[in-house]
Symmetry: C2
Subunit: 262 residues, 2 copies
Amino acid sequence: MSKLFIVGAGPGDLSLLPPQARHAIAASTDLVAYGLYLDLLGELCNGKTHHTRRLGEEIERARLALNLAAEGRTTALISSGDAGIYAMATLVYELLDRQLQGQEDHPEWLDVDISVIPGITAMQAGAAAMGAALAHDFCAISLSDLLTPWETIETRIDAAARADFVVAFYNPVSQKRRWQLPRAREILLQHRPADTPVVLGRNLSRDDETITVTTLAELNAEHVDMLTAVLVGSSHTRCLSTPQQQWVYTPRGYNKKLVSEV
Amino acid sequence: MSKLFIVGAGPGDLSLLPPQARHAIAASTDLVAYGLYLDLLGELCNGKTHHTRRLGEEIERARLALNLAAEGRTTALISSGDAGIYAMATLVYELLDRQLQGQEDHPEWLDVDISVIPGITAMQAGAAAMGAALAHDFCAISLSDLLTPWETIETRIDAAARADFVVAFYNPVSQKRRWQLPRAREILLQHRPADTPVVLGRNLSRDDETITVTTLAELNAEHVDMLTAVLVGSSHTRCLSTPQQQWVYTPRGYNKKLVSEV
């Protein structure tokens, strides 16, 4: 049986990689990934055939992984974060869908046994590092308009702003895309306070991790890059400073219950 | 130094528990949790002092965990899923916030060193088991109106429906709350097709896991309980049947790119 694992490598720190992901990599002979992710996984990847492709070559990676698995090579297609959240898993299904619709000529792909292994995604690592920003209703929005029309994205930002969701922005900026995050900030500011807490987590869980807390009013796209997770609080999200640390959390409303019990 | 770990135990299968969570439990002398979660963790919990409290006693658990840690006992407060997503972490911060505002008389809590350890949450396990339903913009909404007014929840469902987010419902039903999920379905049906795929995952990753795929029109609250993750697709989410399995995925739009390249 030909086998393809689609693995989320998490934010970077191997202590956040579940055993299921580790076992899938160990069971594979071939690894397909953007090179940085294999570097982060380190010696887990030793003794495997590496197939690295650049950023932007996502379709090539998905296609190669299906081809290798269909040839009978047990293959792991590796993303950072959760493989199912803005990552590689969906590309494999887009290709299978095309095959089923007669747009590809790879019937052998349909016999590949696929397992998707979830992982810790950036918003989770960012929230945990600073407390519990995602503890009440939240949404994830990608600011990349390469494949999604900007009007659709803006509709989602506006809906999230009006309905007071905590918002995690993925792909907040790139070298070419700089105006989307400032525009998103502008929309959010129409519906929530200027002092709404914002968490910026860069290289979360890695050696060069930097986490800063700012406010929606002060959110500056110059301080954000491709590797930064951006979490914008709801109108209820609060900052706390204890002697130990500054924290950001979104209450679920237990305090109302506590007050009524006093 | 007094130490409190707030740990997400994931959906149940230990192969999805990151090493960081395992190490935190190993380092603790005292475990505070709803009893079922300690059962799922099995022998990891051996040799520790167990402090189990029933469902509904969440505030008592958070308070007890802070007290134990403040006494110098290294303590793990354990939730299922991700401790920061609709779970225990935020209660600890609500209590610290009350202390800082003079509503509690536990200054010793402020000296506790806290680490929140993220985990795989139900929507991730459900999406991965069936493919990649969360691969594009999504939101998480709790249908519990015990602490959040129903009007707020309904505003969020409506916003998610209009802006075409994939929606993960948490706390979809309980023994006492049965009408919220049918009402949510009704709102979603105003904005997306009757055949929108819905994934119902019960006891995900556990021995008695059951996963079914249905449609928004056929979504029946009688098939859903407290332990069920409910994922409702966006208008773009698709079902695929390969000889291997039925899959549910949300495309990111790479197919447009593929078509333009052909």
